[in-house]
Symmetry: C2
Subunit: 454 residues, 2 copies
Amino acid sequence: MTTPALAALRARFGDHCSTARPVLEAHGRDESGLDFALPEAVVFAQSEEDVLSALQLAREHGLAVVPFAVGSSLEGQVIPVRGGLSLDLSGMKRIVAIEPGGFQATVQPGVTYPELNRLLRSHGLFFPVDPGAEASLGGMASTNASGTGAVKYGTTRDNVLEMRVALMDGRVIRVGSKARKTSAGYDLKHLFIGAEGTLGVITELTVRLWPRPAELAVLRCTFATIAEAAACAVSVMHAALGPERLELLDEEQLRAVNRHRGTAYPERPTLWIELGASSRAALDGALELCRELCLDAGGQTLHAAFSEAERASIWEARHHAYYALRALYPNHANLSTDLCVPLHRLPDVLAFTRRRCDERGLHASFVGHVGDGNFHVLFHAAPDDHAGWATIHEVYGEMVTAALEAGGTCTGEHGVGLHKRAYLAQERPDSLELMRGIKALLDPEGLLNPGKIL
Amino acid sequence: MTTPALAALRARFGDHCSTARPVLEAHGRDESGLDFALPEAVVFAQSEEDVLSALQLAREHGLAVVPFAVGSSLEGQVIPVRGGLSLDLSGMKRIVAIEPGGFQATVQPGVTYPELNRLLRSHGLFFPVDPGAEASLGGMASTNASGTGAVKYGTTRDNVLEMRVALMDGRVIRVGSKARKTSAGYDLKHLFIGAEGTLGVITELTVRLWPRPAELAVLRCTFATIAEAAACAVSVMHAALGPERLELLDEEQLRAVNRHRGTAYPERPTLWIELGASSRAALDGALELCRELCLDAGGQTLHAAFSEAERASIWEARHHAYYALRALYPNHANLSTDLCVPLHRLPDVLAFTRRRCDERGLHASFVGHVGDGNFHVLFHAAPDDHAGWATIHEVYGEMVTAALEAGGTCTGEHGVGLHKRAYLAQERPDSLELMRGIKALLDPEGLLNPGKIL
C-alpha cells in the first residue's frame, strides 16, 4: 500500500484503521486453515458511511477490498490474497428493528445468527439457518450459507428479504423487499447473495423469521451402511413429515464426537431426525410414522430425545463435528468437501465416494444434510504428506465429476472462494462469461475481493 | 416487418410461421384485457433449436421478440407493443423427466402447471404454485407467479431448481442446479426468473416437487371487517400451523362467486384456511387450534370441509374469483392491483385501501393471499367512464405509496409488464440503473420483449 493511501485511510478512520501485525494476522486466514495472506491494513467500519468511505478510498488508491466479519468461511473467502484492505464489519452490530408480526428483523451485517436468535427467543421466533460456526449474517448471505435447518427452512438465500448494498461506484442500493414476495423487476438481491463480497458490500439485511414449533423431538437411528442411511433419508423426505433437520453422520464422525464431547453415541452410520409439531399428539403421530420408515429401511437402534437439554446436546455435537474431527487429528490439515446432489442420486454418489476413499486408503469421515442431498467429506492428512494430499485431490476431483454427472453442484453451502474456482468452471462453463460481465458492470477495476469465485 | 425478414422466417419455419390475422390477434392481448397490439408474425417454436433460430433471425433483421405461451399474464407482458415477432412456445410441451425420488421434474416451457400436476398425481407429488389461470411454467417463471400455495411452498422463484435459457447472442446457458441448493458462483437463475422475457428465453425448466399431505381440511370463517380477517390471518401465521393456503375474500367477491357458481357462501369478509397433516389426529389438533384463533379474532360462522370434492370446489371458486367478478359486470373493464406488504402492516394497509375506495365511491372487491401479505383489489368501470378510471388510478397511486411506505412492493406476483413501470421506478429508484446495465449486457439491441419492466 502506498504511503498516501495509508495516510488517507488514517486521516479518515483514525484508530479504526490498523496496520498492527496481530490485527493483520487476525484477518489473514479463515476456518479452512489452508491459506494465509495478510491485508496491508484493516478498517473497522462502524456504519454504512464508513463502508462507503472505505470503498471510495479503495477506488482512489486502487486498493483491493475484502469484507470480513467473523472469519468463519471455509473456502478462503475472507483471505486478502492480493493484499489491500480488510474491511472489518464485525462492529456493525446494530439490531435496526425486530418486527415479530411481520416475521422479520433488520440488522447490520456484523450481527451473528446466534446473537439474533438469543434476542428472538422471547418472541417465540427464530432465524432458522444455522451453519454451525458463530457466523455473521452478512457473511452468511455472502456465501449463501445453510446448515441443518435448510431441509425445512431453506438456505440464507431463502431467508433474506431485503438488503442494502454499498457499490464500488459510491451508491447504496436497496435490493429485495420487506414484503414476503415481489415480482418488481430484475431480482438483484439474489445476485449479491452468494457473491462472496465480489460485487458489493452488504450494509444491512432484513431477514425472515419463523415461529418455533411448540413440540420437538429428535430421533436417532443407526444403520449398517451410509448408503442405507441415505436411502432412509429419502423415504423420510417422501413421507411429507417435513423434518426440521435430517442429518447423517458416519462411524468415524461419531467416534470423533464421542471422544470430543464424552458422549456415547453408537459409532455406526446414523441419522439424526428432528421432527416438530404444534401439539404433542401431532408429534407422536409423526414420530410413529418416522420410526416405521426407519425400521423398514434397515434401521437398528432407535432413540427419541424430547427434552430441550438432550436435543440441544445433539445439535451442539453436530455443529461441532468439524472441530471434533480436527481435534482427533490435531497435527493434520483438513479439507471439507461440500457436494450437493438431487436426492434420488444421493445414495449412489455417497456409496461411490465411500468406495473410492476406501480403495485409495484415505482418512475420510462423512457428515451430511442428507434431506437436501448435501454431504461433506472431511479429509485430513499431515500437512507435509504430499502424496496423501495428491490422492485427496484426485479423489475430490472424481467426486466432483460424479456429483456434476448426477445433476448436482460442487458446493451446496460453503461457496467457491479460492479453492473451487476450477470446479466452478467445470460446473458452469456456459455461464462464466455472463458472470464476468456482471462483475465488470459492478466492479470494473476488479477491486472487490479479487481472486475469489472467478 | 421487412419483406426479407418475413421471407427468412418463412424459409426457416415454414408452416410454423404465421401472419394470418386470427393468429396475430390471438397473440395481441393477455388476461388484463387493457391493451392490444399485434405482432407482425408468430413463430411456433417446437424446440430449443427453433428458439435459437428465431433469436438469430430477430438479431439479423432487428425484430422485437415477445415470448408467448398461454397469454394469461395480467400486466400486458405478452403484448407485442413494438410489433415484431411473437415467439409462441406453447408447442414446447415435452415432459423431459420426472424424478419422484429427487422431488423434481424437467419440462419444456409450454407445459402448464395443471398438466404437470395431472401427471404427478400417481407419484403422490405436486407442483404447488397455482396462479389460477392455466398458466405455462415458462410464463410463471418469467413473472415469478405465485398464488394460493405460496404461503406454504413459496413462489415460482422458490420452486425452480434449474433452467436452460436461450440468450440473444446465440448461446444457451444452464442456470441454477438440479441439486436443492448451491453456492456455486453468481446466481444467474434468479436474474431470469421474473425478467418477463426481457433477458432471455427459457427453453427448459427443472421444477421442485412436493409430497401431498395425507390429510387436508379447509376451515371457512367469516368476520365483521376485512381488517379483522387480516388480523386473524396474522395470528394464524404466528401459531406455527403452517397453513397450506390462507385466503381472504370480501363480501363483494363472495357475492360474485355465489352468483357465478351457484354457491351459498356467507357474503361477508371471510378467511379460507387450508391445513394439512400427515395423519387425521394431527390434522384434528391443528384444526382445533385454528378454530380457537379464529374465534379469539372475532370469527363468526365456522365450517370445516374435509372431503376432496368440497375442498376442490372451494379452491376452484377461489381460482375463478377474477372471472366471477368480471362476469358480474360483463360490460366493465377491469384492473387488478397486486400489492404485497410485510404481514404486520397488512391490516392497516387493507383498512386504508378500503377507506379510500369507499370515500371515492369506487367499485372494488378485495381478495388476498393474506398469509403472504399479498392482496388484490379488483377495480372495474365502464371502459368509457373516464372520470371513473381517473379516480381508480388516483386511488391506485395512493395504495402503492402506502404499500411502499409500509416496506412493501407494488407487485407481489403479477409482475411489472406495461402498466407498473412508473410504480417500479417509484419502488426502486436506486436500482433501475443496474437493471438497465444488466439488460444492456444481455440484450444490447433491446429486442427482447421491449417496453416491459424498464
